[in-house]
């Protein structure tokens, strides 16, 4: 039977097992929306701005591990989504974006709502495809899902002209996709792995540095077994939080600009650094020249060869899927009669415990104003560490990363690479859509939340009982902190005058609003909010205006050159 391109697009989604898509209609995608209307398998979530459609699909993918899908119209629909696409790209999130395009004959004519979508998105997608013939549509969508979800994942965009969505052809969904130019690595090279084991066995001050790649390849169990077998200290990057249980004694916290003292000191002073699915990002390593001053052997396991020796020269590169490589290493370790240097390792742990005793995350628990750290700490206890936490970008993001102890992967959803303010609420929408019965908390600030505040309306329409924890200090906190430290207290445009009354704002969208301005009310308010299982609750915590995130590695400094509280 012949189907229209629009029907084919939706049939393809069904074939891929897609249950939810996030989108916003418009002229070029009307036929696709009509096809959505005439079926019930794929559920469409109508957002209020296309940026949120991309973020929600991204959040959905981060929490489930499945490919997130969004659908936007041509022109402004897709340009609005670009921030969301770039955000997913920077964090290697599998996502498929279906975008409408003007009819093939109108392309290049400056038609109404026409943009060069493939051109605009090219630098921020893993791949993109303009489909000019309806017969190419099903293979293109198959290819998109395949590329998005394999190798180093990433967003793939399929641009569908309006006439392609209207024309008819036979529908055959390809069972497999063969690309002669795309062969993602899986297992590591055995000879290199033998060398890795040798270096590990001779390590005196080892350190495991695990990133988002461990989460993406679902390798948390393998990482945990690997680290425990060796009794090596573990740090998880911002993107890797939850990959190794944060409450485990081998976990030394997050590294980097706002990492713990012990994690950064161990990164700087180790003699063998095992990087696993992490990319030696500037926010982690700090000044690379300072990082090189200490000599250490670096082992780097990553599926993407371009990530290896990009910022930091690596001694032992292992190109492969983190999960497969860790399994190989576990096999070799379990077969080996050797053990790491026990005495040296004992000394190393003593040193790390000394660093840990510095208690770098301490804060004033008896303050008269609400300390933002107290809110996150209480959130952690009230939710028994079981919430899925999304965040926006800024100080609150760092406090959430520092004080909410993630013991499992895919429970911490944030924009690490691009640092996109506004992601928190749409991320929470994506997560809550995927897991209606889970507790989902969005830790945000009064600046970030306003960048996608319109999505409170979406939350009402789809009954998403998200708990918004707004750390309201009336400043763009991270900007203010940099201005205090590095710009002589000149707070240029970082204070937001004329904030809305968030309680009444939440209420006007049909939600529950709460304002909390006393430290003694923090716990009670959180408990009350989380009891309202079927309601979105917006908790506006009036926090200390001048609190800073510590420790801090100033830009351009080395990892061990932290400003401490």
């Amino acid at each position: 039977m012949e189907l229209t391109g629009a029907e084919i697009a939706i049939r393809c989604l069904k074939e891929e097992g897609v249950e939810h898509i996030f989108g916003y209609p418009g002229g070029a995608v009307l036929d696709i929306y009509d096809a959505i209307f005439r079926q019930e398998k794929v559920r469409h979530i109508l957002v209020r701005h296309e940026q949120a459609a991309a973020h929600a699909a991204d959040g959905y993918a981060r929490a489930t591990g499945k490919v997130g899908v969004c659908l936007v119209t041509s022109g402004p629909g897709v340009t609005n989504a670009v921030t969301g696409i770039a955000t997913a790209y920077m964090d290697s999130i599998p996502m498929v974006i279906l975008s409408g395009q003007v009819s093939v004959a109108a392309i290049g004519q400056d038609a109404f709502q026409e943009v060069d979508t493939v051109g605009i998105t090219r630098p921020c997608v893993k791949h993109n495809i303009l489909v000019k013939d309806v017969r190419d549509l099903a293979p293109a969508i198959k290819k998109a899902f395949h590329i998005a979800s394999t190798g180093r994942p990433g967003p793939v965009l399929v641009d569908i002209p309006k006439d392609v969505s209207q024309k008819k052809t036979e529908f055959n969904y390809p069972a497999k996709v063969q690309l002669r130019s795309y062969h993602p690595a899986s297992k590591g090279e055995p000879e290199m792995l033998r060398q890795v084991i040798q270096v590990i066995m001779n390590a005196r001050r080892p350190m495991i540095y695990a990133g988002g790649g461990v989460v993406l390849s679902n390798a948390s169990d393998e990482l945990t077994r690997f680290a425990r077998l060796l009794n090596f200290p573990v740090t998880n990057t911002l993107m890797g939080l939850g990959a190794y249980p944060a409450t485990d004694s081998q976990f030394v916290g997050m590294p980097g600009m706002h990492g713990t003292f012990e994690a950064n000191m161990a990164m700087q002073n180790c003699d063998v650094l095992i990087g696993i699915g992490a990319r030696f990002d500037d926010r982690v390593i700090g000044n690379p020249a300072h990082f090189f001053e200490a000599t250490r052997k670096i082992i780097h396991i990553d599926i993407d060869p371009t990530s290896i020796s990009k910022r930091v020269p690596v001694d032992l590169p292992v190109v492969g899927n983190v999960k497969d490589v860790l399994k190989q290493l576990l096999g070799l370790l379990e077969a080996s009669r050797e053990k790491p240097e026990a005495v040296a390792l004992g000394e190393w742990w003593k040193q790390i415990e000394l660093w840990r005793s510095r208690d770098c995350l301490r804060f004033d628990r008896h303050s008269e104003v609400i300390k933002p750290q107290l809110v996150v700490d209480t959130l952690y206890h009230v939710t028994a560490g079981k919430a899925i936490v999304t965040s926006d970008v800024g100080q609150h993001q760092m406090w959430a990363a520092q004080f909410y102890k993630f013991d499992r992967p895919r429970r911490w959803i944030n924009s690490g690479g691009l640092g996109t303010m506004g992601v928190g609420l749409p991320y929470a929408m994506g997560v809550q859509t995927a897991f209606p019965d889970e507790t989902v908390a969005c830790v945000t600030g009064e600046a970030s939340i306003q960048m996608c505040i319109q999505e409170l309306s979406t939350c009402k329409q789809y009954h998403l009982p998200i708990k918004i924890v707004n750390l309201n200090n009336r400043y763009m906190g991270m900007v203010r902190q940099w201005q205090e430290f590095f710009y002589g207290n000149r707070y240029a445009e970082s204070y937001i005058d004329a904030l809305p009354d968030f309680v009444r704002l939440a209420e006007s969208y049909g939600h529950v609003g709460m304002r909390i301005d006393k430290p003694s009310d923090v716990e009670g308010a959180l408990k009350e909010a989380f009891k309202l299982k079927d309601r979105l609750v917006f908790m506006d915590f009036i926090t200390d205006q001048t609190e800073n995130v510590y420790p801090m590695v100033p830009s351009g400094k080395g990892m061990s050159e932290m400003i401490l509280v």
């Binding site: 090219r122 590329i147 002669r180 371009t306």
Partner: protein, 165 residues
């Protein structure tokens, strides 16, 4: 130390593939000295030659980044082994001053051809490696050059150094 390198690529002959390669170079701040591309005997494949310069680290990154592009089937750094490079140049020179014999002699020394003649110009065709073409231009009186068109280098491995899909 920035060294000159020649990358040879086989890629899917699809619209947009060229912009993906060009976009990669501009987005990551890599140099392009020249770039030439055309379909091969297999119409589904294009062959591209890119001449670039960079430190060893940058050259390694360029190779890996090119390889990562979905449409790139194979990529090789030709300068790492035996290879041949050729470039085609068309130069239009002025003959208004009656210097045709001098020009013809120079063209002959460089094994070029005069392929078009008008009342006031000769158009010369010359192939060779980049250094040879540069040398020819240096040997010409610069005031005589009306127009220069160069294709950029094309490269191929020597002997059994073959780039197959």
């Amino acid at each position: 130390m920035n060294m000159r390198h020649i990358f040879s690529l086989l890629m899917e002959n699809e619209s947009g593939a060229l912009s993906r390669v060009a976009g990669l170079f501009s987005a990551r701040g890599y140099n392009i000295e020249s770039l030439s591309v055309a379909p091969t005997e297999d119409p589904t494949l294009s062959r591209m030659t890119i001449v670039t310069a960079g430190s060893a680290d940058v050259i390694e990154q360029i190779l890996k980044q090119l390889d990562k592009l979905i449409e790139v089937v194979k990529v090789v750094n030709l300068t790492e082994g035996g290879h041949i490079e050729r470039e085609l140049m068309l130069v239009k020179v002025s003959t208004a001053e009656g210097n045709t014999e001098d020009i013809a002699r120079l063209v002959s020394i460089f094994r070029g051809h005069v392929i078009d003649v008008s009342d006031e110009t000769y158009t010369i065709e010359l192939t060779g490696d980049v250094a040879k073409l540069d040398a020819f231009l240096d040997a010409l009186d610069h005031n005589l050059i009306v127009e220069t068109v160069r294709t950029g280098a094309s490269g191929i491995g020597r002997g059994n150094r073959i780039l197959n899909p």
